[in-house]
Amino acid sequence: MSSDVRFTDFKSDKQPTWCPGCGDFGTMNGMMKALAETGNDPDNTFIVAGIGCSGKIGTYMHSYALHGVHGRALPVGTGVKMARPDLEVMVAGGDGDGYSIGAGHFVHAVRRNVDMSYVVMDNRIYGLTKGQASPTSRSDFETSTTPEGPKQPPVNPLALALASGASFIAQSFASDALRHQEIVQKAIEHDGFGFVNVFSPCVTFNDVDTYDYFRDNLVDLQEEDHDPNDYEAAKKVVLDSEKEYQGIMYQDENSVPYHEQHGVTEDMSDIPDSAPDDAMDLVREFY
């Protein structure tokens, strides 16, 4: 890690193909700044992404990275962190990627409390497949596949995380650059699974959950005297379907990440060039 890392070091020379105005630009900028600000550099950082507009992020950033298959980014991130506790692991995804096809993995990654940050670009729609309902779409949101709305309640990722035993739950807004960066930074610094749901508007297919909508409706928990260490208060906030919140909903300051719980400290990439010295003991066990 070098102290003179600038956030632009995390930028690749590939131009994003996101639509002009897409919330993912702001989300990514905040992630890069947060990584640089927390003392990381591209050579010690591993970014995992799934499929969809959000999944493209690994291409536009510069670090060690894997762009995987739809919904499976969290297991990949888990494998990276377990094998290499020395790396800063960040997983990026979208609402479809994380709360639909990857919902099972989400619950288990949360409860494992692997020390990584998980940034979900939530635009409440499927963008890259051109405008179908996502798990966070409103029940009356009309799309090509739900002409009368999904007629089912949206997934509440914050409540799902809390119910799964999350140690860090936050929400931010791509366009509120400083707050977003600050929140992602806190997620990175958190010892455990740092979950951030980011409102990242889709300017092409979602005319309901727009920048204006979030600007008008977003309540910042910092201004509400919310104590993130208060579990009961966190419950109230994450279950409040009347408001859109920004800030850290919950943080367990005593969180012990998975690899520490399991005594994993070593760099698993470093192996000897022959069998272990005492390997014949493994054979003798079968006497």
């Binding site: 690749s12 020379d13 590939k14 591209p42 050579d43 010690n44 950082t45 591993f46 970014i47 995992v48 690994g58 291409t59 510069h62 670090s63 060690y64 990275a65 894997l66 762009h67 995987g68 298959v69 499976r72 969290l74 297991p75 990949v76 991130g77 888990t78 494998g79 990276v80 962190k81 377990m82 094998a83 290499r84 020395d86 790396l87 099972g104 993995h105 619950v107 288990h108 690899h259 399991h262 005594g263 994993v264 070593e266 698993m268 990439s269 470093d270 192996i271 000897p272 060039d273 022959s274 069998a275 272990p276 390997a279 014949m280 493994l282 054979v283 003798r284 079968f286 006497y287």
Partner: protein, 585 residues
């Protein structure tokens, strides 16, 4: 094969059948006898017929046969299930005081031992199986003291009182038979040797091979019969700085393993039938991102949930062709328990040298069968680790483009690109399942697509010439009759040769451990008068592949009852098949 003894204990699942069998197997192994075990079990925790069978000899044994000499029957069903294998000289140990009345054919020797009450005399009814072991020792002339060490190993953790009680139980069983029966006429006399053997099954050998090869990360989801690989590694891999994660499903397991492999750890996942289906999604990603990963498939009876506790070799097409698009891969299939160890090590080397998935294919019969070997069969000094083109900080420079970007997917002559693991200065790069350029960045350019596809496929071509893809051979190499097999059938085939020899039938056996790439057997098939392919599936998946390679029709022996081949039965099938007309071209 007069020295052979075939022993079994059977009852209901939950009766301690497995541990009793294991104790006897260990005692025989400690006495310098060779042991080969097999298990019949149902997919349930309690209840349902289950049996543990041991074939033992002072000579090497590597198969089951159709004969049972001593049977410890805890239920009538145990007798009924094994009636075909029992013979006039068989002795059946049972407890006449129990509520069921044993129906034992007249020609067999019924040995009624009050197992439960003798066990109670020794300290508890739970030890009735150990009383039976003592009785079996007396019938077979096997010194009961050999049981002691196995009992210490099994119960040592529970305190010396328990161990002593069990030793006593065995002696009470032995004495009861001594005092109440004269069984010398049966003629069993189990000799011992000074040899030291280890006793282990195929899954344990795979786990041990993984540790020896430097595997540090394992992720899996419990599934019969692959689970015991995970159980072996848990509790041992930590001693070497590794870790096992029990994932939420197979999709997660293979992706976790992929993540660990991507970050430089030697990494593995293992599963069976239904689980490998779920993992298929990620095969292409592993290959396209050029990640070294060992994926173990311990086959069981399919399709769908099939018969989860039964033998089959039905996943060959899956591991050869599974996954959408075209996935360059290697498929390695151990043919014996020692090969489970060595081929696992080789699988890790192949994975890293060629940066692509390696399928390690075993089967249920091999996974649960325990067999004795001299410890040197697993000589750790022979283990070689080859990490392939892993570049360090100093070597990275050679692979940077004009802008200083690492060419992780550089097009090379041998098809293998340099690999920089995270943390390597200036090696940062992205890998993706999307088609990509040399830098790992998405491309749909025709030329780049073709270059990358060709490059990945070239790995296989390079490996074809660089690596040894030989087969194993047994029997008479000049024989006109050729039998080809893969997987765990090898042991039964080797022993079948002895029966065939008795009938003056010369056979050459070729056992193939590499399924892709595989040895070209066209010349061997051409040279033979007739060729029979032996495998545990209904459709002859390997025979199909060989017919395609050699452009000729082959005879097939297929067993898909859920039970492995037995040596004597296989010899009969081969004799019969050889006498049939050659199939039309």
């Amino acid at each position: 094969m007069a020295e052979d003894l075939n022993w079994a204990i059977g009852g209901e699942a939950g009766d301690g059948i497995d541990s009793t069998g294991k104790i006897f197997a260990q005692a025989l192994s400690r006495a310098g006898r060779h042991v080969f075990t097999s298990k019949d079990f149902a997919s349930r925790i309690r209840g349902g017929y289950t049996a543990y069978k041991i074939r033992t000899s002072v000579d090497r044994v590597q198969s089951v046969v159709d004969r049972l000499d001593i049977l410890v029957a805890l239920t009538q069903r145990t007798i009924d299930e094994n009636l075909d294998e029992l013979h006039g000289g068989s002795a059946i140990i049972y407890d006449g005081e129990r509520s069921w009345e044993a129906e034992i054919p007249d020609e067999m020797t019924a040995v009624d031992v009050p197992l439960k009450s003798l066990a109670e005399d020794a300290g508890g009814a739970i030890m009735r199986n150990i009383v039976a072991l003592g009785a079996a020792c007396e019938i077979t002339g096997f010194d009961v003291e050999y049981l002691d060490e196995a009992l210490e190993k099994r119960f040592g953790g529970k305190g010396s009182k328990i161990v002593e009680n069990n030793k006593e139980a065995a002696r009470l069983g032995q004495e009861y038979v001594q005092e109440n029966y004269d069984l010398d006429h049966l003629g069993y006399n189990v000799g011992t040797t000074d040899n030291d053997y280890v006793l282990l099954n195929g899954n344990e050998a795979i786990g041990m091979g993984a540790i020896a090869a430097g595997c540090r990360f394992y992720a899996g989801y419990p599934i019969t019969p692959a689970t015991s690989i995970m159980e072996y590694l848990t509790g041992r891999i930590e001693d070497y700085g590794g870790h096992v994660v029990q994932a939420e499903d197979e999709l997660s397991a293979i992706n976790m393993a992929l993540g660990a492999a991507r970050s430089g750890a030697r990494s593995m996942t293992a599963t069976s039938g239904a689980g490998i289906d779920l993992m298929t999604e990620t095969f292409g990603l592993v290959a396209t991102s050029e990640t070294p990963l060992v994926i173990t498939d311990v086959q069981r009876s399919g399709p769908s949930t099939g018969m989860p506790t039964k033998q089959e070799q039905g996943d060959l097409n899956m591991v050869l062709y599974g996954g959408h698009g075209e996935v360059p891969r290697f498929v390695v299939a151990p043919t014996s328990i020692t090969e489970c160890f060595w081929k696992t090590i080789e699988a890790f080397n192949l994975a890293e040298k060629y940066q692509t998935p390696v399928f390690l294919v075993s089967d249920l019969a091999m996974s649960v069968t325990e067999q004795t070997f001299p410890p040197e069969a697993f000589d750790m000094d022979e283990v070689e680790i080859d990490r392939g083109k892993l570049v360090d900080e100093d070597e990275v420079d050679e692979w940077l483009d004009a802008q200083g970007r690492f060419r992780a997917h550089a097009v090379t002559e041998d098809g293998v690109s340099p690999r920089a693991i995270p943390g390597t200065t200036d090696g940062a790069h992205m890998s993706t399942g999307l088609e990509h350029d040399e830098l790992g960045r998405r491309t749909e350019e025709e030329d780049e697509r073709v270059q990358q596809v060709d490059k990945r496929n070239r790995k296989v071509e390079t490996a074809r010439t660089e690596e040894d893809w030989d087969y194993r051979e047994f029997g008479d190499s000049d024989a006109g009759n050729l039998v080809i097999s893969w997987g765990s059938n090898e042991g039964a085939l080797v022993e079948a040769l002895e029966y065939l020899e008795d009938d003056d039938i010369d056979v050459r056996v070729i056992s193939v451990p590499y399924l892709f790439p595989r040895p070209d057997l066209s010349d061997e098939i051409d040279a033979a008068d007739q060729t029979v392919v032996v495998e545990c599936n209904a459709n002859g998946q390997f025979a199909d592949v060989l017919e395609h390679d050699a452009l000729t029709r082959l005879k097939r022996i297929n067993k898909y009852t859920g039970v492995r081949f037995k040596a004597d039965e296989l010899a009969e099938s081969i004799t019969e098949k050889l006498s049939e007309e050659v199939p039309a071209q």
